[in-house]
Amino acid sequence: MQNAYLPDLAEIASIRDETYDTRTFGLRFVDPARWEAFQYRPGQFVEVSVFGVGEAPFCLASPRDGTDTFEVTVRSAGSVTDALHGLKVGDQLGVRGPLGNGFPFDEVKGRDILFVGGGIGLPPLRPLIWDMLSNRGDFGKMTVLYGARTPGDLVYKDDLERWRGRDDVDFMVTVDVGDETWTGNVGVVGTLFPKAEISPETTAAFVCGPPIMIRFVVRDLLSMGFAEEDIYTTLERHMRCGVGKCNHCLIGDKYVCKDGPVFSYRQMKTMMDPG
């Protein structure tokens, strides 16, 4: 019997500042054999332990590529996330995963793809975007729309430049509030929809961000004519075990950690959420 609560040790291989409160950590398993078994799909997540402080869930933020590391992007928000920000390259921590279901991939081959990310909602989409770009021929038109509060809140600036430079993706960024150097779009991410060419009948949409942003974006997409089952999003819930035992993440009879965190809007609508 495997121990679903026992983390594997990993060490911090790299640290990159994304914004004033967000950092991306490259992690490498101490036991190289563990990496072989660590096959994940975008949309899945890991529970990261800082021993002595606790454990918290983070989505897998990098595609599984030729390296032996994977990334998580962490916004400093409380005890575990703050402690993570205090660690340095070479420090060890615990990792459990991959957990959760992940985004559909083969199921949406041949379709146009729309990504809508808000703020810290880009990390779960990032590996999916890269995986689809690596299999570019399998998908139709690709559009990436990304919004953040201010220019200082934009994450993955290197990726943003690379996506902007490609002619096989339609890429747009907006901020709610600009600053003196900002010359781009200003407004919530939904204001980009009229500027993008999107055909709702042929497109699958992937939407990640804060709950309020998801609500508005889904409303917009539905009114544009998107089918409920063509809109995918990730749900965030307070989690403890990540494996469907502690009950913290329950919505009705669905465990966000096990049945999710990825749900189609059609599924979400039928989920009895008492709150």
């Binding site: 679903a4 021993f51 615990g94 804060p210 403890r240 009950n247 009879d253």
Partner: protein
């Protein structure tokens, strides 16, 4: 020669048998505790077993899924290096003279913790335990196991099932593990004659008649909760009575919510899980301050959805109540199972 499916042991020999069991394993049995209550607890001497008790103030939960349970230890032997070591409890335990509702509670926990991925901590304790049930002859004041299909006799699930006859106890063997509890003291037992097994059926029928009171209206509640047909005002009314003490969750044999916490000890330390309650306001609170169940009404609703809905009953092969009646005692706001199901059926507080 085939071995008997049931035995008899006279009351006067029970102590000797328990003495044998005490040599094999830790024995947990009903025991008279402070103030005259009865509680399942570790016994060190056969005389401590309260054979004639009505019910125990606590279920067996804490012995298989303790209120605080160590999951692992970490050590930092070198500069950066960490070592992890899981902590398993492999103590052999015999749960003796346990009421059928509480055996049913354990069987419910078995299903919760054996679902994929299996919970190795629970499963390890469980594999090292034996269940000796004691059927009920008299309904306790708050009991409604009959409504919950969890007693007063069990069809299966026990290793041994004892039934009190006039001077003897009938001992039904449920499993090989059960048989192994008899083997070292076989001279104390006699094979049960057929008429005794027939007598046990008569007792069961007789007891069933006495348990016939309808205490909990599960059918209506199951349907209404499943289809979300309970008016919000009713949940509001129950929320107003909830003190968020978590007592109902802690005394309940089927409640399993937990949280996880780290306890550093210098460079080393350990990780524990602790019982939690879905009624606490911070249960779903996220670091951002967002709380999907900020209202107490939604938490009361979530609790009873988990216990009563068909969705969960299907998954766990039973709804989350064994009719032990402990929440009747625990809840100061009378949000106990019989009262809540009655309110849901009536549609009024």
């Amino acid at each position: 020669m085939s071995q008997p499916a049931a035995y008899v042991i006279t009351r006067s020999r029970l102590a000797e048998w328990v003495g044998q069991l005490l040599k094999q394993a830790q024995v947990i049995a009903p025991r008279t505790v402070h103030g005259g209550d009865t509680a399942y607890d570790v016994v060190e001497d056969p005389s401590q077993v309260a054979w004639d008790y009505s019910s125990s103030i606590n279920p067996l939960k804490r012995f298989l899924f303790p209120q605080t349970e160590e999951l692992l230890r970490w050590r930092r032997p070198g500069s950066n290096g960490l070592q992890l070591e899981p902590t398993y409890d492999e103590t052999d335990r015999i749960f003796l003279a346990v009421r059928p509702c509480d055996v049913s509670g354990v069987l419910f926990l078995d299903r919760v913790f054996s679902r994929e991925p299996e919970d190795i901590y629970y499963m390890t304790r469980r594999q090292h335990s034996a269940l000796v049930s004691l059927t009920c002859g008299e309904p306790g004041e708050d009991c409604f196991c009959v409504c919950a299909d969890a007693g007063p006799f069990l069809e299966s699930g026990y290793d041994l099932q004892l039934t009190k006859l006039s001077d003897d106890y009938l001992v039904e063997v449920g499993t090989e593990k059960g048989r192994s509890l008899i083997a070292p003291a076989e001279h104390l037992f006699a094979g049960a004659p057929d008429e005794l097994i027939r007598a046990r059926r008569d007792i069961e029928k007789d007891v069933d008649d006495r348990f016939e009171e309808h205490k909990a209206y599960f059918a209506a509640a199951l349907r209404k909760v499943t289809f979300d047909r309970v008016p919000d005002e009713l949940w509001d009314g129950m929320a107003d009575r909830c003190l968020e003490c978590g007592g109902c969750s802690f005394v309940c044999p089927t409640c399993t919510c937990f949280l996880v916490a780290d306890w550093p000890e210098g460079e080393n330390g350990h990780r524990e899980r602790l019982w939690d309650s879905c009624l606490y306001s911070c249960y779903t609170l996220e670091a951002s301050g967002h709380n999907p169940r900020a209202q107490r009404r939604d938490r009361v609703k979530a609790r009873f959805f988990h216990k009563l809905s068909y969705q969960f009953a299907k998954e766990l092969e039973a709804h989350g109540c064994v009719g032990c009646g402990r929440c009747i005692t625990a809840c100061l706001g009378s949000n106990d199972m019989p009262t809540v199901t009655a309110r849901i059926r009536r549609g009024a507080i």
